[in-house]
Each structure stands twice: as structure tokens, then as C-alpha cells.
């Protein structure tokens, strides 16, 4: 029967070209706009490390003095050097890494390339295994390198391409800020989205080109990027003793029991520091996991949410419009439908036939919507925001486009089809 209904549907769609075109355009516009914004939302609110985000945690504690203390305040978003180092050395987690962003002048050995500034990450050794960073050549450094302040560096694939033409550069020397570093590893393509481990340097910024041990970078006084929050005496020349939070600290805790134990450890650490007089506020610790941390920081720009709402409103208008047009179209065919009823077609089969027609409109509208969504995403990529380059349609979103277009048009067809089926057969024949 489906084939027959489809044939009827296509005939009917051809008969009223203008009305059909209007419906298709309305659905395509609505679906196109909502899929564009939903894709952006989907990309931006995605999980950067789906395999292990549940095991990564971001410990927070409150080392500030009583100035401006409000009991309901959240602990600072970063840690100070003293606390970061203490937690790092405590090794209470499977992996732990202390880090900050920065920028270093790179002095290429070849005279053909001028010195340039490259974004950098100053971190401790566990960064690489904890975030499962893929390596093309070599590997990361180890904890002993951290302790020694070793002059070692890891490059990204892009920087390695730029400096060494993509060849294995491990063991070679790279000059940064007038200091020679030994390259120990080159990363393979890696860009977690959002840039979860440091939201201060842009939630969706492109990644750092070079990684060096945090101890080395601080010893050499490399330039830092990111935010510094100070209290009391605040910052001076020596960030190691400054009463400022300026480092990000991540841990990997494999089981909920580990996480609970770590929470307890943070609480004890805070209490201990308070007894020692370093901390003054009542212990206030948090241990959000990766997705919880992203959520807390509202990384998805509010404009993107706003655009999604807007697109849904637009889709709603398009659907109401389609309901109206379908109603017009179906009711205009009361004559034909009355004949079919009089010849013995049940209401149910009439209803099915009309819904097939609605579905066909939805499918065509879906194709149009897909094209519009592709166009929309192309426009988004041309926008100036730092997330623009990430706006691409993936397979789930592609399927979602079609499913939502067909579902939307079927929903829009329900009321008109039901109305059209109510026509009593005899009456229609008589009036003709």
C-alpha cells in the first residue's frame, strides 16, 4: 500500500506546485536554521575526552585570607604554586599534572625563518599519559625531568612540520628565548574541544605549539598567559611565593572510591594548612569532574544558546506555517478524498495516505534543510569567533537533520490529515 500512497502523494504534490514548494521551503528553512545552530551547540558542548572524562577531576581549594570572605563563595578556579606543588608531590592520584599557559619566542636554526612567538604549555610530566596525548615521534618527559628543571620540549605536529619539515626531530635542539632545549617528543594531531584543561586562554582556542616542564619555564621566567588572582600581599617578582592562584591542577581518579578518598585528602590538606596558619578560611574544597568543570564555567558562549533558541522559534513558525498550508492543500482535495471514501477506503487508509504525502514533503524539505545547514555552517566558519573553525556536520547530526525534518512534517501533517478524514463520503459526492 505504501507504494500506492507514495504514488498518490507525488501526483498530488505535482498538482499544486506553488503550495508544495512553499511547504518544502518553509520546512527546509526551519530545519536548516535549527540544524546549523544545533550543530554548533553540539560541537561546542561536546566531551573533549569521551573515553576518560569521567575519571579526570579538577581539585579546588580556598587558600585566601579573610578579606572579602563570604561563606557561600566558590573556591578559586586555580591553585597557587605552593599548593599546586604540594598536591603534585603528594601523588594521591593515579596521575596528576600542574600547568599554566604561556608564550615563548622560538628561534629557528634555519635563517630562512624569522624568530616568532608560539603559544606554549608549561606542565608536569603526567600531562601526556593522563590526557592520552598521541605521539608521532618520541614521548613526553618524566617526573625526574620535572624535578631537575630539564631543558626538554615536546612539539606539536604543526610546529614540527614548520620547523623540521615533518621529519623526526627528537634529539634535535630547539632554541627558545635564548635557551637551548632538547626535543624529546612530537605529538600527533591533537585538539581537544573545548580546550578543557585551561579555560583562561580561550575555551576553544587552538592549542599550544610547544610543551616544556613547568619547573623549567618558571626557572627561566618564561612569559605566562592566563589569569592571575591575588590577595593579601599579592604578586611580586617571585610567583613561587606570591599569594596568587595562577596554575591549573588536574588529577586522574579511576574509581568513585578514589574520588571520595581524594576529596577527603583535599579537606584534610586544607584543615592542616589552616592549623599551620597558611589558610585562614574554613576548608572549602571541590572536586568537579571534567564535564562538571566545563559546565560550571559555562564554556558554551551564551550567544550560541541564544542562536539555538532563535532557530527553534523560527522552526516553530515554519511548522505552524506548514500546518496551515497542508490544511489548505488537503481540504482542497475533499472531492477526491470523498470519492475514495465512497469507494470503500477506510478513514485509517486515507489518514495513512495523507501522512505519506506529508512525509514526502518532509523528506524533500530535509534535503533542502541539509543543504541550508551546510551553507549555514559555512557561514558560521567564516565568522570571527575562535570556535568558528570547529563548526562541521558529523554523521549523527546528518541523520538528525533528516529524522527531524520528517518527524516535523509528519507532526505538521497530523492535524490537517485528521481534519480531511472527517469528511463524510456521501456528502462530498452530493455536493459535487
Amino acid at each position: 500500500m505504501f507504494g500506492y500512497y507514495l504514488d498518490l502523494a507525488l501526483r498530488s504534490l505535482r498538482r499544486n506546485k506553488a503550495l508544495t514548494a512553499l511547504m518544502v521551503v518553509a520546512i527546509a528553512l526551519g530545519i536548516g536554521a535549527s540544524m546549523t545552530t544545533l550543530t554548533v551547540l553540539h560541537v561546542l558542548s561536546g566531551d573533549p575526552l569521551p573515553d576518560k572524562s569521567g575519571k579526570l577531576f579538577y581539585p579546588q581549594l580556598d587558600p585566601q585570607d579573610m578579606d572579602g570572605y563570604k561563606p557561600q563563595d566558590d573556591p578559586p578556579a586555580q591553585v597557587s604554586w605552593i599548593d599546586g606543588m604540594a598536591l603534585l608531590h603528594a601523588k594521591r592520584a593515579r596521575y596528576q599534572a600542574l600547568m599554566t599557559g604561556g608564550a615563548v619566542p622560538i628561534q629557528p636554526a634555519q635563517s630562512s625563518i624569522d624568530p616568532f612567538f608560539e603559544d606554549a604549555r608549561y606542565t608536569s610530566a603526567d600531562f601526556f599519559p593522563m590526557f592520552e596525548v598521541p605521539f608521532l615521534y618520541g614521548q613526553g618527559w618524566n617526573a625526574a625531568d620535572d624535578e631537575a628543571g630539564a631543558r626538554v620540549a615536546v612539539l606539536t605536529r604543526e610546529l614540527n612540520d614548520k620547523l623540521f619539515g615533518g621529519k623526526d626531530s627528537t634529539g634535535q635542539t630547539l632554541r627558545m628565548d635564548d635557551v637551548a632545549f632538547r626535543i624529546v617528543g612530537v605529538l600527533d594531531a591533537w585538539r581537544p574541544t573545548p580546550h578543557f584543561y585551561d579555560l583562561n586562554t580561550g575555551s576553544y582556542s587552538s592549542d599550544e605549539g610547544v610543551f616544556v616542564p613547568l619547573t623549567t619555564a618558571t626557572d627561566l621566567k618564561f612569559a605566562r598567559n592566563g589569569s592571575t588572582d591575588c590577595w593579601g600581599k599579592g604578586s611580586g617578582d617571585n610567583m613561587k611565593i606570591a599569594t596568587c592562584t595562577w596554575l591549573q591542577f588536574w588529577v586522574q581518579l579511576d574509581t568513585p572510591a578514589d574520588a571520595a578518598a581524594y576529596s577527603e585528602f583535599l579537606l584534610n590538606y586544607s584543615r592542616e594548612q589552616k592549623t599551620l596558619g597558611r589558610f585562614q578560611r574554613p576548608a572549602n574544597v571541590r572536586l568537579p569532574d571534567l564535564m562538571g568543570w566545563l559546565d560550571y564555567n559555562k564554556v558554551v558562549p551564551s550567544d550560541v544558546h541564544l542562536q539555538a533558541w532563535l532557530a527553534f522559534g523560527f522552526l516553530l513558525v515554519c511548522l505552524v506555517n506548514t500546518v496551515g498550508l497542508m490544511l489548505a492543500k488537503f481540504l482542497r482535495r475533499s472531492g477526491e478524498l470523498g470519492v475514495r471514501r465512497a469507494l470503500g477506503a477506510s478513514r485509517r487508509s486515507l489518514f495513512a495516505q495523507l501522512l505519506v504525502e506529508a512525509g514526502a514533503v518532509g523528506l524533500v524539505g530535509g534535503i533542502g534543510g541539509l543543504l541550508l545547514a551546510l551553507l549555514g555552517l559555512w557561514l558560521v566558519r567564516r565568522q570571527p569567533s575562535d570556535y568558528a573553525a570547529l563548526a562541521h556536520l558529523d554523521l549523527p547530526m546528518l541523520l538528525a537533520t533528516f529524522v527531524s525534518a520528517v518527524v516535523a512534517s509528519l507532526l505538521a501533517g497530523l492535524l490537517p490529515a485528521w481534519r480531511a478524514c472527517l469528511i463524510p463520503p456521501a456528502l462530498q459526492l452530493k455536493s459535487n
Binding site: A18, V25, A223, S302, G313, V320, N321, G324, Q383, S385
Partner: protein, 407 residues
């Protein structure tokens, strides 16, 4: 025009009429809020900076390795930059408006106060106010002997107490001491007190992370920067000379010390335009949505009205045969559309208000000004009338003889 027959006809076509009303209501609600959002973005785009925007350029430099005698380097650079043809003023500053990177601190009015009064940004650099072209409305600029070296102060906390004076903006003064003169009053940075010696009309923060209301909470300190503590050279020149000055200045800086990288050289106009580009992009998207919405609604009205006319050809013919003029028929459909649009608009206003409440709650938007309601109503009435005109004219063209035929 009699409304009676229209209403009784509509009563027999409830669903199409309701759909039309619903569509107009939704469109009205969304368009009102979208236009409001656009006006907000454009308003933001016009934010006052307080500096001579068209006359300023910035060069940001970065040293390789640790600079030796950074203080002398800075003075030498500035002397060379002032000689570049076209440059009327030059300063080495810690921050520049609209660059998103800023240094901020909390302010108290009393050192024993528990919570800070506000958070303000700190501009530093010799002859910064003159170079930026910020206008003083009260008090005076810093005297040459008031300036202290920033590097020395940073390494010696005792010197911090010697920075005795500050110049603040009118907005900040008004916030700290409403209705009073700020001149001669003290503010506290931690335990250190500084006296306000001047008030500027405006000087915007480099970064609006505190929200737009705090955009003008700005202080200028009499501190001399070195190439170790600041990286931005700001030059003032005539608008048409900016590109030439940037080229000349970059050449001079490179020649004075080849061991550094010029990270950026740009005009303040470009920096500003960059800063607000997301707002402009959003406004563009909103314009697109509004146009598409109005188009879809108009086409929907055309479609439904055409259907309606086709359905009522016979009735129209009868009315024509009974003496109704073409104008009567035309007016009938126009009035009908006006009636439906009015109900839709009324509903749309309520909905618009509801959406605005939602936006106020979740996106910190202000209340929708009342002026949007009549404007939105007029636009939708006009669109409704324009859309129904075609089908209505077709209806008016139905000859009376149709009454005698069976459809």
C-alpha cells in the same frame, strides 16, 4: 465595513484562522525580541572609549631572552619613536583599550572595610593620558616629578606606599562618591592609600570581563614602564598618517634592538573593530533571521489566503451578483486579514513580553522598551496587508457570473 459577516465566516473556518493568528503571534514575539537584541549589540558597538581613537596606533613588541637595562632601552625607544615623521606623542604603556588583556585590582574607601567597593583597571605609563587623548574634566595631569619606576616599585614593597596619586574616570568617581567631587579624596588598594588628583571624562577598560556597566571603572597611575614590564608602544598621529607611522616605527624599533619580535602593529580603529566583531556578527545573524521569518510569514499568509479565495469563489460570485462591488470584495479580505493580524499581534505582544522575561533571567538582558510594541504591530499589519493583496485582488476579479455555475 461590517465585521459581522467576517466574524461568522471565520467561525466556520476556525483552524486556518487560528493557525494564521498563531503564526503572526510567534513572528511578532520573535521579531520584537530580535530587533531589541540587534539594538543592544549595535549600542555596545558604539561604546565610548574616551581616547583619540582615530589618531592612535599600537606596536606590541616581545624581547628574546632577558632585556639588559630595560629602563634605558625604553627611554631610548621612546626618543627614537618621537622622531618618526608624523608622530605627535608616544608612550610605553602596560595596557591598551579593547585588547582584552588587563591588570585589575579591588578598591576600598576605607582600609578596614571587609568587602571591596569595586574592581577597577590600572593603566600605567609615562604621559599616558596626553598620548591617549583622554580628557580631564577636573583636577590635573601628573607632574613630571610624580612619576616612579614601575620595576623598582615591584621589587620593593615599601615604595608602593610612595605612589601617592591617581587619576580616575568620572564614572568611577560617581560610583565611589555619588554627587560629590572626587578631587583630594583617598582610595585604598589593600592597605596602600592614594589620593585622587584628577578626573577623566572617560577611559575604557581593555577587557569588559566585569560586564558593560563596569566598562569605565578605570585608574591611571604615575608609573614609568620599562621594556621588562610593558610591551605596548602607543603612538599618536594624524589619522591619514597612521599606516606610514606604523611602518616607520616598526623599522626604528627593529633597528634599535634586532633581538626582539614585533608581535603586532595596528591602529586603534582596527583593534576596536576586532573587539566588537562578535557583536556585529550576531547582529547580522539576527537580521537574517528577521528577514527569513517575515518572508515565511508573508508567504504563509499568501498561501492560506489563496486557498481561502479559491474555496469561496462561489460565495464571492453570489455576493458580486447581489451587487457587491470589486472594492467591497477587496475590502472584505483586507479587513479579514487586519482582524486576524490584530488578534495575532495582541497575542504576540504577550508572548514577546514572556520571551523578554526569559532572556532577562538567563542572558542578563534589560527589559524590552515599550516602543517595540507599536513598531512591531505596524510592521506586521503592513506585511499582512501586502501579503493578502494578491489573493484579495484575485478574489475581487471573480466575475458575478460564477454564481450561476456549479464549481
Amino acid at each position: 465595513m461590517e465585521l459581522g459577516p467576517i466574524l461568522s465566516t471565520l467561525r466556520r473556518h476556525k483552524i486556518p484562522a487560528l493557525l494564521l493568528i498563531l503564526e503572526i503571534a510567534l513572528t511578532c514575539a520573535i521579531v520584537c525580541n530580535a530587533v531589541f537584541l540587534i539594538s543592544q549589540r549595535l549600542e555596545r558597538n558604539k561604546m565610548v572609549s574616551g581616547v583619540a581613537e582615530h589618531e592612535l596606533v599600537q606596536l606590541q613588541v616581545a624581547n628574546i631572552g632577558k632585556p639588559a637595562n630595560a629602563k634605558a632601552r625604553a627611554q631610548e625607544d621612546l626618543a627614537l619613536l618621537r622622531q618618526v615623521p608624523g608622530v605627535t606623542a608616544a608612550a610605553l604603556v602596560n595596557q591598551v583599550p579593547f585588547t582584552n588583556s588587563s591588570s585589575n585590582t579591588s578598591i576600598k574607601l576605607d582600609p578596614t572595610q571587609k568587602l571591596p567597593t569595586l574592581n577597577a583597571t590600572m593603566y600605567m605609563g609615562e604621559s599616558l593620558i596626553g598620548t591617549y587623548g583622554a580628557r580631564l574634566v577636573a583636577g590635573r595631569d601628573f607632574n613630571a616629578d610624580e612619576y616612579m619606576d614601575f620595576d623598582a616599585m615591584r621589587s620593593d614593597p615599601d615604595l608602593q606606599n610612595k605612589v601617592g596619586s591617581v587619576i580616575i574616570t568620572q564614572a568611577m568617581a560617581e560610583r565611589l562618591w555619588p554627587g560629590e567631587s572626587a578631587l583630594g579624596k583617598n582610595i585604598y588598594l589593600g592597605e596602600t592609600s592614594v589620593r585622587v588628583i584628577g578626573v577623566m571624562q572617560a577611559l575604557i577598560r581593555p577587557s569588559l570581563f566585569m560586564g558593560d556597566d563596569a566598562a569605565q571603572w578605570t585608574m591611571v597611575f604615575p608609573l614609568r614602564m620599562s621594556t621588562a614590564s610593558a610591551s605596548r608602544y602607543v603612538l599618536r598621529t594624524a589619522p591619514e598618517q597612521r599606516d606610514r607611522v606604523l611602518e616607520g616605527a616598526a623599522k626604528v624599533l627593529r633597528k634599535a634592538d634586532p633581538h626582539r619580535i614585533i608581535l603586532k602593529k595596528e591602529t586603534l580603529d582596527d583593534i576596536r573593530s576586532d573587539f566588537f566583531r562578535n557583536d556585529r556578527a550576531m547582529a547580522g545573524i539576527l537580521v537574517g533571521v528577521i528577514v527569513a521569518l517575515l518572508a515565511v510569514t508573508a508567504l504563509g499568509i499568501v498561501g492560506l489566503a489563496s486557498f481561502w479565495v479559491a474555496q469561496r469563489r462561489r460565495t464571492i460570485g453570489v455576493r458580486r451578483a447581489l451587487g457587491a462591488t470589486r472594492r467591497n470584495i477587496l475590502n472584505y479580505f483586507q479587513t479579514e486579514n487586519f482582524l486576524l493580524a490584530t488578534i495575532g499581534i495582541a497575542l504576540g505582544m504577550v508572548l514577546a513580553y514572556g520571551i523578554n522575561l526569559f532572556l532577562m533571567l538567563h542572558y542578563e538582558l534589560p527589559r524590552l522598551p515599550a516602543v517595540y510594541f507599536p513598531v512591531g504591530a505596524i510592521v506586521l499589519w503592513l506585511i499582512g496587508q501586502a501579503a493578502v493583496l494578491g489573493p484579495a485582488l484575485r478574489a475581487a476579479a471573480v466575475p458575478p457570473v460564477v454564481a450561476t455555475r456549479s464549481v
